[in-house]
């Protein structure tokens, strides 16, 4: 980790309008939770369906995508990353700093609101809020790692990231059962399944498998992003 890289990345990430957009979406999630609580009352199945479909399946991957690619993608695009790379700092260390910012950003904007929304809708009953909160937390970290890697590897990271989140996890997962075993969403839901005491969520992946796969993805993606940054080519404008 490098403090200066972390600080610069935070300022770039949260300085513009992006921070307000993210905050607005987090607030929207909470507002919907409050609305459901007021109109439907306390219904744990509604809580599980809402958090599963809106928070874990949509908000968390979307935020992971925006923040994960946002911590390095624009810098690579406009070439200003040269100021970070032309320094005697190992490239994996730069990636680690970027990853730390992306992960904490996604957790703050997506996982924390998910947990709070769970509390609003179901209180602490059946550890539902905790289950989804932990799932969102772990998924936030995993998505940050994946999308950060994507941003280093390709200039079209947002497009590929959306394709993964929407097509692979969303569509394909609902038609092709096999696709679900390779899905961050399903891995994190297996944590919810294990934590929540009520039988409201079912994941297609066993907890142990999911844990290993999550760890492999987070560590592997971050390591590989560091290796790719070592050989990043920045040519002039000719």
């Amino acid at each position: 980790m490098n403090g200066t890289v972390v600080r610069l990345t935070y300022r770039a990430l949260l300085g513009g309008r992006r921070a307000w957009l993210l905050l607005a979406m987090s607030v929207l999630l909470l507002a919907m939770a409050v609305l459901l609580r007021l109109t439907v009352g306390v219904d744990h199945q509604v809580t599980a369906d809402f958090l599963g479909a809106v928070a874990v399946a949509a908000l968390v991957p979307l935020f992971g995508l925006i923040v994960g690619t946002g911590v390095i993608g624009p810098e690579i695009d406009d070439g200003s990353v040269v100021y970070l790379l032309s320094k005697p700092i190992s490239r994996p260390r730069i990636i680690l700093s970027k990853f730390a910012v992306a992960a904490t950003g996604t957790v703050l904007f997506a996982a924390v609101p998910t947990f709070v929304a769970g509390l609003v809708m179901s209180g602490t009953a059946g550890r539902i809020a905790l289950g989804f909160g932990v799932a969102a937390l772990v998924a936030s970290i995993a998505y940050s790692a994946i999308f950060l890697l994507l941003a280093v590897v390709t200039r079209h990271a947002v497009v590929y990231g959306l394709a993964y989140a929407l097509i692979w996890e969303g569509l394909l997962g609902s038609f092709v059962p096999g696709a679900r075993t390779l899905s961050v969403q399903q891995w994190s839901l297996s944590l919810t399944e294990a934590i929540a005491t009520r039988d409201l969520v079912s994941s297609d992946v066993r907890l142990a498998v999911a844990g290993v796969l999550l760890a492999v993805v987070i560590v592997g993606a971050t390591w590989y992003a560091g290796q790719r940054l070592r050989v990043l080519s920045l040519a002039g404008e000719e």
Binding site: G79, Y83, S86, K87, P88, R230, L232, G236, E237
Partner: protein
């Protein structure tokens, strides 16, 4: 020391060769990398700065490979051509961040010194995004100088500068060269390079076309056989008038085309209109035919 060595380096993108078998050594003092746009100057500087792997050959700094070696940035300072930087930072914050990234013991003092060197203290509290092009160039320069590098690489540093800023940067680079640093800058303008560089490396179409001090380069570009194709009102009469002068090595008249080989560029350019006028011949077209020469010629004329 502080010698950059480019050894039989080529770089290609797919089928396009950007840099073609270039060998050169860049030592202390100011070296100008001269060539028209698209000659491969930026590609070469990217390789020298460790931001592009050579497809073949090696780029070394004092014998150490540059590619995939961040340690070289303790010695190298880089002024990229691209404008983009951290626009949301003030000039001071930007240069300070660069000092911190270098892990300098006293980044504040280093940033202060670098900003003073480029005379940008007056604007250091303003955001980089609000700077003019010349100011950005100077703050980029400060960020490259912050760790007092022995080697400085500048990609088209004079682009977009007004004459006063140009002179200021030239002074700065001269001081650095005089202090024994290795300074390499690229430019497509001959006069710029002539005024500043002790050593000139010319690149044309990816190749290392010439090397030497500016007198040698001028002579190489100007005083060597040039081929021209001429169309005029009376090719035959013009041919006989031209061959009478020593600056014409040969003439050839085929169909309706008069080809002339001139030995001395300067004399020939002065001779041709004079001879044509004296003989009452109207010139319709005078064009150089040698393609690589033409590119050298065209930017020589443009500059």
């Amino acid at each position: 020391m502080n010698v950059l060595s480019v050894d039989t380096v080529s770089r290609w993108y797919g089928n396009v060769v950007a840099v073609n078998d270039v060998t050169m050594t860049i030592g202390p003092g100011i070296t100008g990398l001269l060539g028209p746009n698209g000659a491969g100057k930026s590609t070469l500087i990217s390789m020298l700065g460790g931001f592009l792997a050579p497809s073949a050959g090696t780029v070394t700094l004092d014998g150490v490979t540059v590619w995939k070696n961040p340690e070289i940035y303790r010695t190298i300072g880089l002024v990229p051509e691209r404008e983009a930087s951290y626009d949301f930072l003030t000039g001071w914050q930007f240069v300070l961040a660069n000092a911190e990234l270098h892990g300098l013991p006293d980044p504040g003092a280093a940033a202060k010194r670098a900003l003073a060197t480029v005379e940008m203290e007056f604007a250091q509290g303003r955001k980089v995004g609000e700077y003019s092009k010349g100011m950005r160039q100077r703050v980029k320069m400060a960020s490259a100088l912050v760790h007092d590098p022995a080697v400085l690489l500048l990609d088209e540093p004079f682009n977009g500068m007004d004459p006063r800023q140009r002179l200021h940067l030239m002074d700065l680079l001269r001081q650095m060269g005089a202090a024994g640093r290795t300074v390499l800058f690229s430019s497509h303008i001959l006069e710029e390079v002539e005024q500043l560089a002790q050593q000139i490396e010319v690149m044309v179409a990816g190749r290392h076309a010439a090397s030497g001090d500016f007198r040698e380069i001028r002579r190489l570009m100007i005083d060597r056989p040039h081929q021209y194709v001429i169309r005029s009102s009376d090719d035959r009469a013009l041919a006989s008038a031209l061959i009478a002068d020593g600056s014409t090595a040969g003439v050839q008249l085929t169909d309706d085309v008069l080809s002339v080989e001139a030995v001395s560029f300067l004399r020939f350019t002065e001779l041709l209109p004079r001879v044509a006028r004296a003989a009452g011949i109207r010139l319709y077209e005078v064009s150089p035919t040698d393609e690589s020469l033409e590119s050298v010629f065209s930017y020589l004329v443009k500059s």
